[in-house]
Amino acid sequence: MARSLVVRARPARSSGGRVRRLVEVVLLAVLAAAMLFPVLWMLETSVKENRDVYAVPAKLVGFDITLDHYRDVFVGPAGGASDLSVALLNSVVVAGASTVLATVLGVPAAWAYSRFTLRAKKDQLFFILSTRFMPPVVVVIPIFLMYRQLGLIDTQLGLILIYTAFNVPFTIWMMKGFVDQVPSEYEDAAMLDGHTRFQAFRRITLPLLLPGIAATAVFALIFSWNEFVYAIFLTSSQEVRTAPPAIAGLIGGTTVDWGLVAASACVFALPVLVFAYLVRKHLVAGVTLGAVRR
């Protein structure tokens, strides 16, 4: 049957089915609540007065709302920009730059892998994939030494480079899948019309790839934004640190300002959630590096 109707008429069903459906709905609701509760709790905490934050037993409702913590995220004790806001800005710069670079490097490579038969293509692709699976620890030590020699320790550029290097394999794998879906006949037709291969790529294929590029870039952005290991080992100063180490540093001392922690965590997490929502259709492909497509 080629045509599929929007809503199917329900098949004849026994009443046992109704009880079962109820159980399923209840189970789902409980699980969904369990999944979301921590997030909601942190949101709550971020707008609570300190006395409510530390209340024992914890207050679920019936508290006053304050935006002080959010203010503290951005405004330092002396009135200028807070350290956290500097860190957040660093995150924006580093994540943005590394994403752009990874896209610029990865998309053409993905296209080349898709269109051309190359020597040892499968091996090359496997090699690219395997770099993604290396534990950062193995690479952190030599990179640390390398950066020390090159003076890249504690620099934005250093982080940008390493994030790009980690985003490129992912970009290539995911974009290759997208390129595979654009028939090469379009380029053949363009070349018959007189374009070069490169022009065909630029004028015909690239515009068609934009949605895929956007989705891939968002994933790279999310990864770079959330990254912690390299950030904490390759940077140390306030000016250069990105958000994850900075926020983690909030729980270093003897007393922890949990309201501030909650607010910073929420501010930090928001862009990612927004972006993830925008590419929700590609999420399955994204998290499995393009191995699974819906």
């Binding site: 789902l28 709790w41 490579a109 080349a112 620890v137 030494l145 290097a165 290539i172």
Partner: protein, 312 residues
């Protein structure tokens, strides 16, 4: 073209010659130009460091020491493989990976199954369940550290309202590992769920219809249609998760910092400690290389097993 008596010379009315369109790069050249920058970057930032780490692993180099590196052969490797401390972390890691991945798989598949049986609100449900996965492990670690706090954590609060004594989640050895597994499960169950859901929705509806006409029971349908078609996908997801869990550092660092004591120190955490606290660079490199080898070997075995399953 008109040839007449009045105009013995041909009038050329053809189109002007096409502009020269030969590119200066042939196909091979284009491929090289497109691929090389990415390759070079990867070689510089992944392969070269790996090789360097490999060479370091055969020395006693220390990044903070001023003495030059001395070649010590396999001494580092021997030390690690016989180390009681390493063995302990290996066990910890095993408990963690097996516990977390199993729990996530069961829960993830269960949720995916429940969602796949619904016709409405699927998109919304899926998006809701995805939230934990998209958060940084730092954020997740912080959230849960606060929630599991023995004094003013909301978890103990809720337990208290049920009449249960407060539990020292993160500060007692037995419960710390449990907490780590629970938090990791909370964050990564959606990963398995997403993939399982993709597999479940790909099962063609007419198979279920044929089964309903053949009077198959729900269990029959599950075992003979759903499970066999979703199984391969699930196994891939499990492999991804296991590899990621093995590499995990962020969550451990934030949630427990390896404690209490060293009870939640995974291999990944330990090697970072050795590298950047003790600065035994040579030893740490050997440690890291061993971990990579283990991952590769296990992954190969697993994939081979998967391929065998597919062929049956």
């Amino acid at each position: 073209m008109v040839l007449t008596n009045e105009h013995p010379v041909q009038e050329v009315t053809s189109t002007p010659p096409a502009p020269v369109r030969t590119s200066r790069l042939g196909d091979r050249g284009l491929a090289a130009v497109f691929i090389s920058p990415a390759m070079l970057l990867l070689l510089a930032m992944s392969v070269f460091p790996l090789l360097w780490a490999l060479s370091l692993s055969f020395t006693n180099y220390s990044a903070t020491g001023s003495a030059p590196a001395e070649f010590v052969g396999f001494a580092n490797y021997a030390e690690i493989l016989t180390s009681e401390a390493v063995r302990r972390r290996a066990l910890t890691t095993l408990v963690y990976v097996v516990g977390a991945v199993t729990l996530q798989t069961v829960l993830g598949f269960g949720i995916a199954y429940l969602i796949s049986r619904r016709t409405r609100g699927r998109g919304l449900l899926t998006t809701l369940f995805l939230v934990p996965m998209m958060l940084s492990p730092v954020v997740v670690g912080l959230f849960w550290r606060f929630m599991l706090d023995a004094q003013f954590g909301v978890v103990n609060s809720m337990l208290g309202s049920l009449g249960i004594e407060p539990v020292e989640w993160l500060t007692r050895q037995e419960t710390a590992m449990v907490s780590l597994i629970v938090v990791d499960t909370w964050q990564w169950t959606p990963f398995i769920m997403l993939i399982a859901l993709a597999g479940l929705t790909a099962v063609p509806r007419y198979l279920y219809e044929a089964a309903s006409i053949d009077r198959a029971s729900e269990w029959f349908r599950f075992r003979n249609i759903t499970l066999p078609l979703v199984w391969p996908l699930l196994l891939i997801a499990v492999m991804f998760r296991a590899i990621e869990a093995f590499r995990l550092f962020d969550l451990v660092y934030i949630l427990t910092n390896g404690g209490p004591g060293v009870s939640t120190e995974t291999l990944s955490f330990h090697v970072n400690k050795v590298a950047f606290l003790g600065f035994n660079t040579g030893t740490a490199s050997a440690y890291g290389i061993l971990m990579v080898v283990v991952v590769i070997v296990l992954a190969q075995i697993y994939l081979r097993y998967l391929n065998k399953l597919k062929e049956d």
